[in-house]
Amino acid sequence: MGKYAIRRTLLFIPTLLVATILVFTLFWIVPGDPALAILAGGEGDTGSVSPEQLQQLRQTLGLDRPLYVQYASWLANVLHGDLGTSLWYKTPVWHQLKDRFLVTMELAVMAIVLAVCAAVPLGVTSAVKQDTGLDYLSRIFSSIGIALPTFWLGILIVYFLAYFFEWLPPLGYATVWDDPLLNVQQLILPALTLAFNDLAFTARVTRSSMLEVMREDYLRTARAKGLVELRVVGRHALKNALLPVLTVSGYQFARLLGGVIIVESIFVVPGMGTLLIDSIIHRDFIVLQAIVLLIAAVVLILNLMIDLAYGVLDPRVRYQ
């Protein structure tokens, strides 16, 4: 296990480094000059920019130094927890980010918990009752769930709640510490919207993984020695079938973080998603960089943890 853990962790470091390089280069594919793009604003009005302004901004951003020096100093700052200063708000990015980061994570975790809690029973039922009406129903449901655009689903949920129950989701935001009830009220709808799409995927993976396990010899043995069906499915099959579900859930979480942006903007949740959209509108590349990097780091660390957990749960992967 020790060897496997070390190998897997060593693989994580170069990947994270490549991610920082990609995020850093993102800044550099701005057509022309990032400083010019920032000064020109969203409309690309370059006429009103004076050379002095441009020179000054280049100096503050350190754009006059060689590229590798810029990257090294940026990386060093990031490693010290300094994500830079927002170009638009003129405050340290971390100030903007830290509360919003927690909000987004809370929303994402709520969504994935909801999704997994619904998807696993759905997938298992579908596999156990394979090719029955119930199976078809749940497969149609998951096909629909995958094709439904998150933003449309969000809009529809708001509409139907308003129409049938004359209830609108509360605006504004309270943290879970200030007002737990209000917090859940505010986040439950966005979380459900997010979960729906995720649920469809996870149910599919659970179903196919379960079908595979159901044909294993040890399941026949379990039945042959007279175990109750519930125990066969619950203990012997499900335990093994859930391993692939665990693996994909890491990438599912990444997908979900993409959906968060959309859902936050529909339900006006003050998370990272709304900040990301803001930073795009204001061309605040420093904030943008920080958000992308933070998300990449979270997902990579999560995947590392999942792979390590996998090594514990399924000893076979340690020897690959």
């Binding site: 594919i29 090719d131 096909s143 629909i144 933003f151 449309w152 809009i155 942006i261 590349f285 943008l288």
Partner: protein, 321 residues
């Protein structure tokens, strides 16, 4: 989708089903129509998907002929009033939007935008990353190692966020949306193609070709590529739907195509800002169009995958939104 147990060309069976090869289908269908009919019989849901896709293409081609109004035109009625948020009726089958444009015309023209972005992104993206995936897997060693680290790093960022970041840098325009989506599909496409090539590479015919002294370029073009064509077709189908949903998401968030362009996603922006209770039709029809079209591509893709390359089951997990 409808039937789980399909017997494949190679005699392998889908996820654990243990059915002997009972039906041998002739490799050369008499005519393409018969092939289509056979596909429709085996995969009814796939055929439904195909019809939806066909309907999208026809709508996009005939858009100027069948739409009652100019999609960008703000309508002025006889008494010089602008019909803002008029409910669906005889005059406007899907109603009008918040500035007084005909929604049905915008939905019809939206088919063009969706298809343009989808085809553009898939032709450029899937093709380019297909080649990268093949080269990475075939070359192995340093090339593969570098490509794989880039893929891993990009897999860690949700597709939508990659695309949004690229849009922030490039600025909003129709063609920039295509470029952004192409970059967004890099990681999953390269990964899927690479794993396919890794198994094709070890096949005896490839080893044999190398043994008689064929050069790498020849092996790739003559032996590996033809054996990855099925996967190309399947990926292209899925990613058409994926690109359409991404474009809609971008335009919905206001960073995709400019607002006057009739994009289905862009049409939903006003609905999300609280207008949905005032004018539900403006929020329902464009979303329904996205949903049906994406469902169509997914159903078609599922059926193609089951028929052509069942080993890929579950490969769609890699898709991001």
């Amino acid at each position: 989708m409808a039937r789980k147990q399909e017997v494949l060309a190679g005699g392998e069976t889908v996820v654990g089903s243990v059915v002997p090869q009972t039906r041998i289908e002739s490799d050369a269908p008499a005519s393409p129509w018969i092939a289509v009919a056979r596909f429709a019989r085996r995969k009814p849901l796939g055929a439904v998907g195909g019809l939806i896709v066909l309907a999208l293409v026809v709508t996009a081609l005939l858009a100027p002929l069948i739409s009652p109004y100019d999609p960008r035109q703000i309508i002025r009625e006889a008494d010089n009033r602008v019909p803002v948020y008029v409910a669906p009726g005889a005059a406007y089958p899907m109603g009008t939007d918040h500035v007084g444009r005909d929604i049905v015309s915008r939905v019809i023209h939206g088919a063009r935008i969706s298809l343009y972005v989808g085809l553009g992104a898939v032709l450029i993206g899937v093709t380019a990353w297909f080649v990268v995936g093949i080269v990475s897997a075939y070359a192995g060693r340093v090339v593969d190692l570098v490509v794989q680290r880039v893929v891993d790093a990009m897999m860690a960022v949700p597709g939508l966020i990659i695309v949004l970041a690229i849009m922030a840098v490039l600025g909003s325009s129709l063609n920039n949306v295509i470029i952004a989506i192409v970059i967004g599909m890099l990681a999953p496409v390269v990964r899927t193609v690479r794993s396919q090539v890794l198994s094709v590479k070890e096949q005896e015919y490839v080893v044999a070709a190398r043994a008689i002294g064929a050069r790498s370029a020849r092996i790739i073009v003559r032996h590996i590529m033809p054996n990855c064509l099925a996967i190309y077709l399947i990926l292209a189908t899925y990613y058409l739907g994926f690109a359409i949903i991404l474009e809609a998401s971008l335009s919905f968030l206001g960073v995709g195509v400019p607002p006057d362009v009739p994009s289905w996603g862009g049409m939903l922006t006003a609905a999300a800002q609280g207008h949905i209770t005032k004018a539900p039709w403006a929020g329902i029809f464009p979303g329904l169009a996205i949903f049906i079209v994406v469902l169509g591509f997914n159903l078609l893709g599922d059926a193609l995958r089951d028929v052509l390359e069942p080993r890929l089951r579950g490969a769609r997990r890699g898709l991001m939104r």
